[in-house]
Symmetry: C2
Subunit: 208 residues, 2 copies
């Protein structure tokens, strides 16, 4: 059975993107610094067609995150930001389901990424992702609003936060607007390198 | 030379106290749940005159935090909240310097805690705390506003966040209003138990 997980970068002050983000400013002002730890890793570089890179524990964690995923789900704004900025060979190499109100045919990219557009809700997108994942896990990529919707619906099993030792002071917070009664966590792991702290939580089933 | 440090509890969504806090509602609504991991530890219980308690790694960390401190600095609201709620034998057992605009004579409690009231600024309070600490470390206890003032002034060496695996959804955030250009961190440690994740950062010297 596929595990449904979130894996994202966050600053110590809780931001997962900077302010003023959009297709012309991906991740927002200073947002790319949230992921500084990632850019030198071999697992990251290889997805963008670059050779070399670090191969320590951060790389192993990143590689495992990418390898376990058989399908990805993302929101419309995240897709639109990426559509303009990903290389032609989009860095997913798996089926990606985009939640949108727009009806659109699948968009196939070289390298194995096909974007499917889903206009009938988060449960339907998850069902389609399960069918496509072939038993591998399903990653809810973001943005914040989509992750909160899945958390509130009790559909996420694991949350991995790569906590960057920086402050942004402004931007998009993952947990703004979350209902603390419906979402709670159990600590699964905390490991760190000099660049990032990996916090792993199991999401507890919501009270019915 | 005394190390100046902060050690506090924070939720995954960044709150160090719940909303509506005050002398009649210490730590705010649901705020005490931030410190749930602490209440069963021997180091905590002993400071409140209770026997027994857990003696695992969380307890060792808490004991070390308390033992290293030779003086504590806190803001006026934190003091006023505690003044009404601490037992007669206040749980510090060391000199405590309270930043306030009110001139007031020292208030000596049984068990070795004396509150000194400082009305001429954070640097003066730190100087007095250094003199009183006898070479031990100095803890900036809070609240959030006071910690931000010390961080902005470049006067804090270490930040220890005991990250509770809960969400509050509302309350007092440590980093609201922080200037991200003036404050940055280096990761020193991350260890976890089933109840809490201890994140330890060195505070980098501010750019002059």
């Amino acid at each position: 059975m596929s595990v449904v997980f979130v894996s994202l970068g966050m600053t110590v002050d809780g931001y997962i993107a900077g302010p003023n983000g959009g297709p012309d400013n991906p991740l927002g002002d200073r947002g790319p610094t949230i992921h500084t730890w990632m850019y030198g890793q071999r697992a990251f570089r290889s997805r963008f067609g670059m050779a070399g890179g670090d191969t320590g524990r951060d790389d192993q964690i990143l590689e495992a995150t990418m390898t376990r995923s058989g399908a990805t789900i993302m929101g419309k704004r995240m897709f639109e930001e990426g559509e303009k900025n990903w290389p032609e060979e989009a860095p997913f190499h798996m089926p990606v389901f985009v939640l949108t109100h727009q009806v659109r045919s699948p968009w196939q990219r070289p390298g194995g990424t096909t974007f499917h557009f889903v206009d009938d809700g988060i449960e339907s997108a998850l069902e389609r992702a399960r069918d496509a994942a072939g038993g591998k896990d399903i990653r809810i990529a973001g943005g914040a609003d989509l992750i909160r919707q899945y958390l509130h619906a009790g559909l996420i099993d694991e949350l991995h936060i790569a906590l960057a030792p920086i402050l942004l002071g402004d931007g998009v917070r993952l947990f703004d607007g979350i209902d603390p009664v419906r979402v709670s966590f159990e600590i699964a792991e905390a490991v760190h390198s000099p660049s990032v702290t990996h916090l792993r939580y199991s999401v507890k089933r919501p009270r019915r």
